[in-house]
Structure formats: C-alpha cells, structure tokens
C-alpha cells in the first residue's frame, strides 16, 4: 500500500513537472524584440521598506516601458551579489546596471572599462542631475589616477550616528553623554543598573571597521586617513595602534558589554528597543527602523561621541556617499539607450522623492527636496548634527587601491573581541599592506 502511494506521488510529480520543464520559464525566453537590461543591486528583501519600494518600481518601470525587459537580479547578500557581478564580467557579459561602491578600492573596474563614464550624459541632460548635491560625486571621480569622467550616480549618502535611550539616562539621573570621557564616566552606573552602555554587535566585521574610522575622525581628523593611504602613517604605527588600544580599552571597561561576537547589528537594535542598551552606534540607514520602535519616543539621535581633549575634530564625521548606480553599456552598444533610460529612472528626482515618501521621510538622500512630507523627529535630530559636519570621509580602507584591505582591516579589528592585542592587530594589517604593495610595485 505504502509503496503504491510513493509510486503514485512520484509519478504525479514527474508528470506535473514535465510541461514546466519542457517549456522552461516563459518569462526568460527571448523577449519579443524587447531590449533586455539587467539591474543588480542589494535591494532584494521586501521586509525593508526601501528595498520593497525598489522592487515595486522595477515592476512599474516594466509596465511603463514595454520596449524594455528590465530583469531585476538583485540580491542583498554581499557575497552573492559580488559573485554575480564578477562572474558576469569574467564571462564577458557584464550586467548592464549595477550598484557600485566607488572609491580607489574599485579603481580596477573603472580602469578596465567595466564602468562607463556618464559625465557626457549628465551634461547633456542637466535636469536629471540638477537636484543632486555636488559634493557626493567625489568617490566616483578618478582624476588623481589620470582617469577623467564620472562613473556613477550617488543613491545612498549616509552618516554614522548614535541612538541614545534617554529614558535610561533620565532614570539614572545622568545627562546624555556627548564625549568619550562622559561615556566612560557614566559606564559604572549604567553597568550597575544592568544596562549595556553601548551595544556593539561584533559578529559582523563591518561594525569594527566603521567604528575605527569614526573614532579616527574624532581623534585625528581626515589627515590621518590621508597619511595612512599615502603610507606616511602605518597601520601598526603609534597613532593607528592607539585607536585600536582605545577600542580595546572601551571593551575592557565594559562600555561594549559582553558576548559581542554573539550578535550583530540587528542584535544592537533589539537591545536598544528592549531597553538593554543605553546607546547604539549605527548610521542614518537605521533611521526608518528606529522610528518604528515601540519605544521610539524614548530615543534620541546624536552624533558619534568626540573627545573633550580634541575639540577641533568634534564635527569631523564618518559618512558621505556610500553607494552609486553605474552602467557597463557603452555608447554605440545596441542596449545603450535602454540602459541609460533605466539608469535615469532609478536615479531620478522623482524616484528618490517617491522613496522618501514611501519610507516616511527617514534617512538621508543625495538630492535636496522641495515640497514634500516633513521629516520625522529622529531624522531632524540627525540632520542637525549632519549639517554641522566640517569634514567627512568614508571608511578609511575604501580610499586605498588595495581592494582587499577593507576586509583585512575589518576582520582583524573583530579580533579585539576575542582577546587579540592592539599591536598584533596593527602588525597583521600592515604585513598584508606591505605584501600587497611590494607585489603591485605600489
């Protein structure tokens, strides 16, 4: 009896799958004379309002442009996105529209002609770029490497910031700490009351990388980044190791709490919402998420803490443009016109304004909006700090032509939470840098 059931089920499955498999997927067959354009971003999670908005707009684009078959290949997992992008290049069929991180770390893509210069198109269509903030294009300009042009449209400027649970500080009668000295002073009281002073989810290595750059800006300003990239400063030099030592010091005195390797950025948010953490260090990308918290009224947004002893760098920030949309099609390619239309659609003022409204205002945008919905309280608080920034840089390693440096630095900084010594961490990073530079005659 059981055998018969099994056979019946197997037969039914095989019969039912035959027509599907024989026809393949109808959607993927040649698209009736349509120009196929593929777009690859990291927006694939419909649980995130911004990513859902992108997916809805892909569907809308296909409806409005019957002559183009826009295929959304987006996948939010970074490794999977990179595999898709790199294999498409290696197989000689680069994806037409893609998210691009810019900076020197991605110089090779520009130098090898994978990314197309769009400066001519920007000049030809000034209305398209009129609302964009000019200072956001720096990471996609490569003039210092002898390459002219602009290689992408910024879509995601950001700034690091902190969210404080004001209710906790009020409960303990502690004024909101704005400097590292004040945070250190408040730590014993916060720990005694059972709170983590500043949750740090080190499970994901980018947390350490972000923190290091943000801290370096408050300690030394952007000159330190320039010196590191030029080789004047070393990753195992005094200044660089001092920063790592300070991170380790904060960890040792309990500012970051315990079990940091057991949770990630989502865990930080959860600790903030559940009143376990007094502060979290994050970025403007989480404004929408924090706004939706059940205790959002208790939370305030402030800048990354600075040092009382170094007031001149109080308003130096980690932030700026983070992600760009670029194209690989070249003028003269059969799909160039269609590709350009896709690029303009997803970087248009209307698209960004729609996103702003869909996400209820939260976040930072590359364009200045005219009449639109008012921003929420947390975004306004963020902007009050952000607008005072006197200097701003992305993560230090992004400025280095050594593409693997970002991962090397982040991974090594992660070992602070497993007991590694600051000098050993600096030495490990510098060794990799020296090896790469000698191999590349840099």
């Amino acid at each position: 009896m059981k055998r018969n059931i099994v056979l019946a089920v197997v037969c039914m499955l095989l019969i039912s799958m035959m027509p599907i498999m024989a026809s393949g997927n109808e959607e993927n067959t040649a698209s009736d004379g349509k120009t196929v354009v593929r777009i690859l971003t990291r927006f694939s999670n419909p649980g995130n309002p911004r990513e859902k908005y992108f997916q809805d707009m892909v569907a809308k684009f296909n409806e409005e442009n019957p002559d183009i078959d826009l295929q959304d290949l987006s996948i939010s997992d970074e490794g999977s996105r990179d595999t898709r992008f790199k294999t498409s290049i290696a197989s000689g069929d680069p994806i037409e529209v893609f998210n691009f991180l810019g900076y020197a770390a991605n110089l090779d893509y520009v130098r090898d002609g994978v990314v197309t210069d769009i400066s001519g198109e920007m000049e030809a269509d000034p209305e398209w770029v009129a609302a964009y903030k000019d200072n956001l294009f720096g990471p996609v300009r490569y003039d210092e490497f002898g390459i002219s042009g602009i290689y992408g449209m910024p879509i995601d400027p950001y700034g690091v910031c902190c969210f404080y649970n004001k209710a906790i500080f009020d409960e303990l009668g502690i004024p909101l700490p704005e400097t590292w000295e004040e945070i250190e002073a408040a730590t014993p009281a916060l720990l005694a009351a059972g709170y983590t002073p500043m949750a740090f989810g080190a499970m994901e290595n980018y947390r350490g990388g972000h923190f290091y750059t943000a801290l370096s800006m408050k300690a030394y300003g952007s000159e330190f980044k320039d010196a590191l990239i030029s080789g004047e400063e070393k990753w195992n030099g005094e200044k660089a190791v001092n920063l790592i030592s300070y991170m380790k010091h904060l960890y040792d005195i309990g500012v970051f709490g315990e079990n940091n390797m057991a949770y990630n950025a989502d865990g930080e948010l959860s600790r903030l919402e559940n009143k376990q953490a007094a502060i979290i260090f994050t970025g403007s990308w989480n404004l929408a998420a924090v706004n939706a918290f059940s205790n959002a009224d208790d939370l305030v947004c402030m800048g990354f803490p600075y040092f009382e002893s170094v007031p001149e760098h109080k308003d130096d920030w980690m932030g700026g443009p983070d992600c760009f949309i670029s194209i690989s099609s070249k003028p003269g390619d059969p799909d160039y016109e269609a590709t350009l239309r896709v690029l303009k659609y997803f970087t248009s003022y209307e698209y960004l304004k729609g996103q702003y409204e869909y996400c209820n205002g939260s976040g930072t945008y590359p364009v200045t909006f005219d009449e639109t919905i008012p921003a929420d309280r947390l975004t306004n608080e963020f902007n009050s700090y952000y607008s005072n920034a006197t200097d701003m840089i992305g993560e230090i390693e992004q400025y280095d032509a050594m593409a693997s440096l970002i991962d090397i630095v982040r991974t090594n900084l992660q070992t602070i939470f497993t007991g590694a010594e600051p000098q050993a961490i600096g030495d490990a990073i510098q060794l990799e840098v020296d090896t790469w530079r000698s191999m590349n005659n840099y």
């Binding site: 095989l14 939010s76 559940n274």
Partner: protein
C-alpha cells in the same frame, strides 16, 4: 523499584539513556529554534531567543509565501533536484553496468576518466559554465540546469553504483542471459532491482546536493521566478537589515517537502544511507 532496575540493567543503561536524551535534544533543538523563531518578529528573536513567542506572528508566513515567493523557490529546488536525480539514476546505472561487467573495451580507463570528475572541483568550472550558458542562452532554464547538476554529481554516483554492482554476482547476469534476456533487459529487469540500495544512495546524495546547492544557482538562475531556496533565503539577508522571522518561516516551508518525501520513503532512504556507509 529503582534498585531493581539498576540491578537488572546496570548503570550502563542509565548512561545510554542519558546520552540518547542529550542527542535527541541536540538534534531537535535547531528545529525547535527555527520553528519557534518563525512565529516571532526580529526584536523578539533577539530578545527572547529560546522562549515561545509572546504573540504568534503569522505575518512571517504570509510574507514568506506572497512577498518572498518561497513556494516557487521550493518548487524550483524540487524540480531541479528530482530532475537531476532521475537523470543520475537512469544514466548512472546504464553507465556503471558496462564498466562493472567489462562489457566494453577500455572499461578500466573509462572508470579512471570519470575519476577526473571527482578530482576537479565543480566550482572551478564556474566561469566557463557561465560563459557557455550565456552564449547558448541557457540561463534561467530548467533542463540545462538539470543536466549540469546531473553532470556534477555523475562521477560520485557512478562510483557508488559501480561499487554496488561489483558485489552482485556475475552468475546472475549469466543466468538471465541463458534465460533469454538481452543486455538491457538484464540490466533493468534483473540487476536494477538487485542494486536498489546502491542506486538509492546515489539518488539521495544527488537529490540533497542539488537541493542545497548555491553557487551555480546564484550565478545561472538569477530571475526571481527561477530562484532556488538557498538563493531566495540569501535575498532576505539585507544590506543592513535581515528579516529573520520571515527567513525562518521560509526555512520551515522549505523543509516541509523534504520531510514529506522522507516520511513517505523512510525505509528506502535509511536503507540507502546505511548501505552507502558500508559501500561508499
């Protein structure tokens, strides 16, 4: 009562049961965690990791089915796995038989040739495969992927089936031939049923390998409607935000078909796996 039990069974028995309970806990805990988390929101998953949900979040399942399209991904994974398994069972057996019985000239060399397939890592072929699929327009299609997966799993399956065939006496073949069977009839009517456990092992391994495969699926099946389970689940791991509840709900939904297949074919699978342990 207790003393009587101890006298009869000894402390070894208690130790045995303790270990058994511990193992049951170890194996069931991940399933418990996944199922319970599938009914929580992100905050509750992190805050109360081990407890039951305070409020059941059915929305996770709704999102997993309608927004994420996990059922389509489950169907895709199932079709690819079943297709590759079918090809392996038929072609693998047909290929293994002449090699095992030395019916063709150069059988030994052919066996060695298939060994290369085991020695070359499949992912080393990724770029040429992407190029081939792109040039021939084979991306986002079922049959090319089924053949690719069958090809990748062919060498190991061949060796498993050959190993089992070698243990089946040749006198059975001779008896079948004397009774008037042709070679194909001998293979499919006599040898095939006798090699059931060996072929099942190869089939199960192929099915599981394909069901869980990620790299080729990620690069060759890129349209939403063609994505497999593993690729779809990665799509939920956001740039800076992961929908854990939805992801766990999707995992539960993707486990169900395998669980049903397992319950229906429990005896065969267990026999196949045990056999594989001996013959493999």
């Amino acid at each position: 009562m207790k003393a009587k039990y101890l006298k009869k069974h000894g402390f070894g028995s208690i130790f045995y049961w303790l270990i058994a309970v511990l193992l049951v806990f170890l194996f069931l805990y991940p399933i418990y965690f996944v199922v319970v988390s599938s009914f929580k929101d992100n905050n509750e998953i992190w805050y109360t990791m081990f407890s039951l949900p305070e409020e059941v979040e059915w929305l996770n399942y709704q999102d997993a089915i309608f927004n994420v399209g996990i059922l389509r991904s489950v169907l895709n994974s199932f079709l690819l796995s079943a297709g590759a398994t079918l090809v392996i069972v038929i072609v693998g057996t047909m290929g293994a038989y002449p090699i095992s019985r030395h019916i063709i000239r150069g059988a030994k060399q052919l066996k060695l040739y298939y060994l290369i397939g085991l020695m070359v890592p499949a992912y080393g072929m990724l770029i040429p495969m992407v190029k081939l699929f792109t040039q021939l327009g084979l991306r986002d299609k079922y049959w090319p992927m089924i053949l690719l997966y069958a090809g990748i799993n062919f060498p190991i399956s061949m060796y498993l089936i050959i190993g089992y065939l070698d243990s089946v006496s040749r006198e059975i073949d001779e008896a079948a031939l004397i009774d008037g069977c042709t070679v194909p009839q001998t293979l499919f009517r006599v040898i095939f049923p006798l090699c059931g456990p060996g072929i099942s092992t190869a089939g199960i391994l192929t099915f599981l390998n394909v069901y869980n495969e990620l790299v080729f699926a990620n690069t060759l099946l890129q349209r939403k409607s063609m994505m497999t389970i593993s690729v779809t689940l990665l799509g939920l791991k956001g740039e800076r935000f992961t929908s854990w509840g939805v992801m766990f709900a999707a995992i539960v939904l993707s486990i169900l078909p395998i669980l049903i297949v397992y319950l229906l074919m429990q005896e065969k699978i267990e026999a196949g796996v045990t056999n594989g342990a001996v013959k493999g």
